[in-house]
């Protein structure tokens, strides 16, 4: 873990001739690069939130929601597979389903007369990309929040009802506070998961949306415009974003879990 991280650190302070420089970092503040950080963080945060909420609801349904047992093991297995389904196959699956000539797009247009792309939908846009990401974000959330939901004792809820609380009051005062540390951890994990995703975005949008990993890819893949040192600096910038989010997370975690067994 340390070796690649330190090679990024060293590389980001070198120019193409290997001499020490701050120029790479200066380049990071170019508008198009700042934009790409901003869009990457937006995609990551949006999909982490979306995947987090939907994944939580599914996990709730299969753990505490009283669904039949076989459905739960099916969902867990499916989540295990789907959370790892990313990259070119996922991008292709979405293009084949929701692309301009995708199955669903055509079906909606011919059978129901609804033209998705006329309605403003575009798979190769910010929201299209975010939608594609949620395909692996939701099942990942299901997998990581399931154990936490299993830890919620039925008696907490009963005790709170017995003391006069409504279901909403139970969730506000007991359920969510108890789950908060796990929810924060899950959110950071989903954020990081989307933040580093490369293949899905690249094969879906072909670089149409300038995510940081795609930008890095462009720098190191050796086409005409490449600048390996800038690639290092870009990667270092990502490390910083992740480091900051982990620091914030740790701080929130400490606030929200004073009561947890140390």
């Amino acid at each position: 873990m340390l070796v690649p991280a330190s090679s990024i650190l060293v590389g980001s302070f070198q120019d193409s001739a290997g001499k020490f420089t701050f120029l790479n970092f200066a380049h990071l503040f170019a508008p198009n690069i700042l934009d790409s950080y901003s869009i990457t963080i937006q995609v990551s945060a949006t999909t982490a939130l979306l995947g987090g909420v939907l994944g939580f609801l599914i996990a709730y349904a299969i753990t505490l929601g009283g669904l039949p047992k076989p459905l739960r093991s099916f969902m867990s297995t499916f989540s295990g597979v789907a959370s790892n389904f990313a990259g070119v196959p996922l991008a292709f699956a979405f293009i084949a389903t929701l692309g301009r000539m995708g199955l669903l797009t055509v079906l909606l247009r011919t059978v129901f007369g609804i033209n998705l792309y006329d309605q403003g939908f575009n798979l190769y846009s910010f929201w299209g990309l975010s939608l594609t990401y949620t395909y692996f974000q939701i099942p990942l959330m299901v997998l990581i929040i399931e154990p936490a939901l299993d830890g919620m004792k039925k008696e907490w809820r009963e005790a709170s009802e017995n003391l006069g609380a409504s279901p909403l009051q139970y969730w506000l005062r007991v359920g969510i506070p108890v789950l908060l540390p796990s929810l924060l951890a899950a959110f950071i994990l989903l954020f990081g998961n989307a933040f580093g995703a490369y293949a899905t975005a690249y094969s879906l949008t072909g670089g149409f949306i300038n995510l940081v990993p795609i930008l890095i890819g462009a720098q190191i893949r050796g086409n005409v415009l490449h600048d390996q040192s800038l690639g290092y600096a870009l990667a270092f910038g990502m490390v910083i974003v992740m480091a900051v989010s982990i620091v914030v997370y740790t701080w929130l975690q400490r606030l929200s879990s004073r009561w947890v067994k140390q």
Binding site: E155, E158, A159, L163, G164, A165, Q169, W259
Partner: protein, 367 residues
């Protein structure tokens, strides 16, 4: 009219009927235990009173009002769970104050009431602790305080001591009873532990297969079991095969030795009956009118009690005596005479219960 009434309450889960038309009246301020083995429906009955289960049939009245369909958060009943169920994210103080805050009570009022409760359970110095920093016994005290802080109409306890050590169990048991009597709160206590039920209740309801088999004061339950099941379930019984010799005079023969029942028997000469006598009703020597001779098979030390197992013919008979350090117990193999009063005998039809099985199983607890 009773304060808490259950009328012909039935509860089925699918095709499985757990409670089969149970009726129970509990007076205000009374402490009633529901006692029975696992699967007898005692916990389901309590959960129906609390409102966590809805009766399939019948009705539940609290203070004259039918609450059968009232959701649990509007019944104002305090419940204590086996696993404490304290909210892990709240300090002791906030746990106890939870119900009051939900009820919209003001800060100062909540604090005052919480202080009262902390004093009641002697845990003033633990107010700021979190549940995981407390022992099981302490957690259950807090759970008790949390349940009574809201001044509930009745207190419901679901095996509250089952998860605790034997020593703490006895102490907390006495504390629960003391607090209950101090506050005069109507209490339903579910347990599988007969000693627990007998020691703290005003009345004990022995349950079996979704019905109350017998309900009465602890002494009545122990000394005058109404059914063979209760007789076998409560305490230890010696079961001896007895042949009727003279029904009018109440004379029977056990292993060829003649005994007096103390009352006429409703049976024919030569009929086989089952004679029940408790181990603590027997004593060594020839003091009582009824005597059985046998040989000591073994000795068991049960703490404060010593149990002699005496072989009388083909039957093993238990005799319990206090564990007096000065006591000189007969050695294994020694011939002894056991005696007991005619009043200590009760009779049952043969086949009502397996010989000696009830006596042997008694010491085990149902899980």
């Amino acid at each position: 009219m009773a304060f808490l009434e259950l009328h012909e309450v039935v509860k089925s889960f699918g095709r499985n009927t757990v409670v089969r038309g149970l009726s129970l009246n509990v007076d205000k301020g009374e402490f009633v235990s529901l006692l029975g083995g696992s699967g007898c429906g005692k916990t389901t009955t309590l959960r129906m009173i609390a409102g966590f289960e809805t009766p399939t049939d019948g009705s539940i009245l609290v203070g004259g009002k039918d609450v059968s369909r009232v959701p649990p958060n509007r019944r104002n009943l305090g419940m204590v769970f086996q696993n404490y169920a304290l909210f892990p994210n709240m300090s002791v103080r906030r746990n106890i104050g939870f119900g009051l805050r939900i009820a919209g009570k003001h800060g100062a009022e909540v604090e005052r009431r919480v202080d009262e409760m902390l004093e009641l359970i002697h845990m003033e110095e633990f107010a700021q602790r979190y549940p995981h920093q407390l022992s099981g016994g302490q957690q259950q005290r807090v759970a008790l305080a949390r349940a009574i802080a809201i001044q509930p109409q009745a207190l419901l306890l679901d095996e509250p001591l089952s998860a605790l050590d034997a020593k703490i169990r006895v102490r907390l048991r006495d504390d629960i009873r003391a607090i209950q009597q101090k506050l005069g709160i109507t209490t339903i206590y579910v347990t599988h532990d007969q000693e627990e039920a007998l020691s703290i209740s005003d009345r004990v309801a022995v349950m079996r297969e979704g019905l109350i088999e017998q309900i009465g004061a602890p002494f009545e339950i122990y000394n005058r079991p109404a059914t063979p099941y209760v007789a076998a379930f409560i305490g230890t019984q010696n079961l001896l095969g007895a042949t009727v010799i003279d029904p009018a005079a109440g004379i029977v023969s056990v292993e060829g030795q003649s005994l007096e029942a103390g009352h006429p028997l409703d049976a024919k000469v030569g009929e086989e009956l089952r004679l029940r006598v408790r181990p603590e009703a027997l004593s060594l020597g020839r003091s009582g009118p009824n005597r059985l001779g046998g040989r000591v098979a073994s000795q068991k030390l049960l703490g404060s009690i010593v149990r002699l197992v005496v072989r009388v013919g083909d039957t093993e008979v238990f005799m319990d005596g206090f564990n007096d350090p000065l006591l000189k117990l007969p050695a294994v193999g020694e011939a002894v005479t056991l005696s007991f009063s005619p009043e200590a005998c009760t009779f049952a039809e043969p086949g009502a219960e397996p010989i000696a099985a009830a006596a042997l199983e008694d010491e085990e607890e149902t899980p």
